[in-house]
Symmetry: C2
Subunit: 308 residues, 2 copies
């Protein structure tokens, strides 16, 4: 039984203190992000970039990149600039998604969205600035890594955020709004690109930086694809079942926008089952790494059990 296995695996993993691990890693990432972007003239643009970059969040992408770098024998220092860059890019995508011309959101993580505070013009530029800086940061701040590996990460991250990734997913998502005949294939395309692509880049970037073999990178990529889709299914479920207070952003948005979601195809119970299956598959992909995969298996469990 997949679900029973899942529960067994969860209780077995209790020995690994995920909460402490995440708290420690989040603190390290926050500190690195804070240092990465000092405020200089013209202050307004740096303040706008920092407003969203330092607005909290799970820091899941950086934490995944650090984790796979360690798993593959590297240090967290090697992966930290890339980890920060991934969070800069994730932040850019949130700032631009929230714009009036896109999802038109007033709140994000319980705070006013970037354009509500700084204006639409500065919000667009803050996103552009974060995106450009992400690549500069990887190229200038990474120490002790073979430059060919670093170039591979630049290419990987560029692809994950461009038309072949996040941007492509967002275009299809916008195109589907209000349409009633969305297929499950289209919904999968949206989320494989809008959410999973950057999670995949996060997971394998750390391993690439550490010089992992292609076989290890492939296994981690399959882990990433599974948690990426599970992450989105859980997001869709939370949009229905959470309160705004728990989630820190508007809820019921998908229903109001008549958006196709996994629960709208499968119902909530089947969506939970599917997400659980994906998490099991993700954990199976990294089982071969034994003890070293503990953070990754615990993060997979966290994705399905999270309430925000």
């Amino acid at each position: 039984m997949v679900l029973a296995d899942g529960m067994q695996a969860s209780s077995k993993d209790l020995a690994f203190d995920l909460r402490a691990y995440l708290a420690e890693r989040q603190a390290k990432v926050e500190e690195a992000l804070d240092r990465s972007l000092p405020v200089v003239y013209p202050e307004k643009i740096y303040e706008a970039m920092r407003y969203s970059l330092m607005a909290g969040g799970k820091r899941l992408r950086p934490i995944l990149s650090l984790a796979t770098c360690e798993l593959a024998g590297g240090t967290i220092e090697m992966a930290m600039p890339t980890a920060c860059a991934l969070e800069m890019i994730h932040t850019m995508s949130l700032i631009h998604d929230d714009l009036p011309a896109m999802d038109n959101d007033d709140y994000r993580r319980g705070k006013l969205t970037n354009h509500k505070v700084f204006g639409e013009d500065v919000a667009i530029l803050a996103g552009d600035g974060l995106l450009a800086y992400a690549f500069e940061h990887i190229a200038t701040e990474t120490k002790g890594v073979d430059p060919l590996r670093l170039l591979r990460v630049v290419a990987l991250v560029g692809r994950a955020v461009g038309a072949a990734g996040l941007v492509g997913g967002q275009v299809v998502d916008l195109d589907c709004e209000g349409k009633k005949d969305i297929t499950i294939e289209t919904l999968n395309f949206i989320h494989n690109h809008k959410t999973a692509a950057l999670l995949e880049a996060s997971v394998i970037s750390g391993a690439i930086l550490a010089g992992a073999s292609e076989a290890v990178i492939e296994a981690l990529l399959r882990y990433a694809k599974n948690i990426g889709l599970a992450f989105q299914i859980v997001d869709d479920i939370l949009d229905i079942t959470s309160t705004a207070e728990e989630l820190g952003k508007s809820v019921g948005k998908d229903l109001k926008a008549e958006k196709a979601t996994y629960p709208s195809f499968w119902g909530i119970d089947e969506s939970r089952t599917q997400a659980q299956r994906l998490i099991q598959s993700a954990k199976a992909e990294v089982a071969e790494f034994g003890e070293k995969a503990r953070p990754l298996t615990a993060i997979a469990d966290f994705i399905i059990s999270r309430t925000r």
Copy 2:
């Protein structure tokens, strides 16, 4: 006499057929840009990116990058992916600048602006897609270049477009709109960042890729700073003296927006003199390279004599 020298230099340079040179290089760049971005699913975003990328223009940034790569002993093939990336980034900045939340322009190069054709949401994403793809393209398509040089170019280009460059200049520019007490220092800041930064990155990227010495890169950087500012002064003059037909975009915009410009500080005649002086200085910086600098001196002359 600076101006008399300038005229002598110009007539001496007639032996170099700039028109033929630019036409040949433009054609090469157009072809490379066309190949760089095929249309795949979701077609709409690729079409939006290509609509602005393939909308003509002088291709000055790519041509400068190719020219300095050759000057420093490299081939145009080594610099072509970076050259295309520079044009992608320039195009991104135009798409985002034209948005209703920014300059709100309906026409660019005689064609409807990106958001007038594809909508604001797609235009924002097309810019993001071009920016991300620029870095991916440099990292994946450059052949025969030392990876450390390539990483330096990634960092240089990232810096030129981010808050320390183009984005920073645009923020100050937006901030100054309608203000009557703009200083010449602020105006210089705007253009050193909004226009000159990417021109500088264009000029020195080619030389870096070819493995030029730091002394050569420094001389080229000074050349670039001079032509960058001259370029902007000429832009300001053309906004006053050109017809919309000549320019392919709205004219008299700066006056209408009560924008601080070089002619508003100096008058048109003195602005022309200043631009001429900058062009002379630019040419002096590359004089040491002799025959090899012919394209760069001719491009400097072109910048001051252009009518669009």
